[in-house]
Every structure is written in C-alpha cells, then in structure tokens.
C-alpha cells in the first residue's frame, strides 16, 4: 500500500530534506525545482560543467534544427 505522501511524490511533489534551512525552503517556496539542485550537488564541479556542456549542445542543436525548419 502506498501512503499519501509517497503518492504525492510520485506525482511530482518535492520531498524537502527535513534538515533544509531557510534559504533552501525559501527557494523551494519561490517555485524552484530544488530536486535539480540536489542532483547537481551530488556531482563534482567538473561533472556539472560537463553536463552543462551537453545541455548547451542540445539547446544549440534544437535551435539550429528549429531554424532550418522555419520555426520562429
């Protein structure tokens, strides 16, 4: 049986770490997806930059693809 909280998390509710401080909670309440920050903090700085490079490459590819297909 899945409890209500787990079901909510399965549906996208962020499980804020119980020891999260006020700045973390403020950012969460502002609307940021803090799960992305948590995942990023698990990486080394070099891994973060490599992921960023991959994302940029993807964005640029999308942009160029859109341009070549006449997207505005």
């Amino acid at each position: 049986m899945i409890d209500e909280e787990t079901l909510a998390q399965m549906n996208g509710k962020y499980a804020c770490p119980p020891d999260a401080g006020p700045a973390w909670r403020a950012a969460m309440e502002y609307g940021f997806d803090m799960s992305l920050i948590e995942e990023s903090l698990k990486l080394t700085p070099e891994q973060r930059l490599a992921e960023h490079q991959q994302a940029i490459n993807f964005f640029i590819e999308l942009q160029e693809s859109g341009q070549s297909h006449g997207a505005k």
Binding site: A26, L49, E51, I56
Partner: protein
C-alpha cells in the same frame, strides 16, 4: 553556433592570460544548473593582455559581437590599449572578457575572491561562492536574482553538509 567553454578555457590558459571565471559557468560550477550561452571571465586589461586574448582565439574568426558591423578583432589592434572589456563571438562560442566585476571591483578583487580548481583539462580560477552571490546581486537582472536565491540555498546546504564539496 557552437559554445565550447572547455576549449575556450584551455586556449585562454595556454595564452598565458590570467583570469577568473565568472558568470553563468561559475554558477554551474557551484551547483546551480542554469543554461548559459557564453563564457564570462574577468582578467587584467592593457595591450599585452588583450594580445594574449587575441592569441587564444585568433584562428577562430573572432569578432566584436556587440559592434554594429561585427568588427574583426585583428582590425582593432590599434584600440587594444584602450579596451576595458571585450565581447567576442568566435567559432567556439561567445567569450566575454571583463576588466571589472559588478559588486566586486577590479580583476585583483576578483582574484582575491577566487578558488583554484583542478579539473581533468587543467586548473582554473572560479569566483568563490560568496563573491559570486555578491556579483549576481549587484548585476540585479531577474535571472541574476533567481540565481542568487539558489546560490544562497547551495551555500546554506554547503555549510550544513561539508562532505558535498
């Protein structure tokens, strides 16, 4: 148009230019996954340093990307001694070199508030977290202030969980 920050960083290092990485790449470095489409550095200026920047990118068709007619960098050597910033478009992406950082001041101030980080492709100086927060706060655009909220959260988490860093 490509944006290869790692290649640009390696070229700048190989040119002998002293610099500190600032801006969005530094935000990513500290753990906030934002999309940033340029490489921002702070460096000392003066003709000798601008010549180092030029040597780093001279085979990448560098142009002053903010000039109306996108002047080629090599056409502007006569003005190198007068430059305080350079905003370039190169074949490896956008490279913005700034002589000062808002909220911090000169290159020397940025240098004092930087950390040397070793990566597989070399050692590079990044603004430390406090300095980056100060710089982004001073920049004041919505995207900067959004980054500040997240950087403050990261700082708080860092202080709680030293093992993350």
């Amino acid at each position: 148009m490509a944006q290869n920050d790692q290649a640009l960083l390696m070229r700048l290092r190989d040119s002998g230019l002293e610099f500190v990485v600032i801006g969005g790449v530094c935000v990513v470095y500290h753990g906030v996954p934002v999309a940033t489409f340029d490489l921002d550095i702070c460096c000392p200026f003066g003709e000798a340093n601008v010549l180092k920047i030029e040597s780093a990118v001279k085979d990448l068709n560098p142009v002053h990307r903010l000039t109306a007619n996108r002047l080629r960098l090599d056409q502007t050597r006569g003005s190198f001694k007068d430059l305080k910033n350079i905003y370039l478009q190169t074949d490896l992406g956008k490279l913005d070199c700034l002589g000062e950082v808002a909220g911090l001041g000169s290159y020397e101030k940025a240098l004092q508030q930087s950390v040397l980080h070793s990566m597989s492709f070399g050692e590079f100086r990044m603004l430390n977290l406090d300095a980056l927060i100060a710089a982004k706060t001073a920049a004041g655009r919505q995207k900067d202030l959004d980054a500040v909220r997240l950087l403050r959260a990261v700082k708080e988490r860092k202080e709680q969980q030293k093992e993350l860093f």
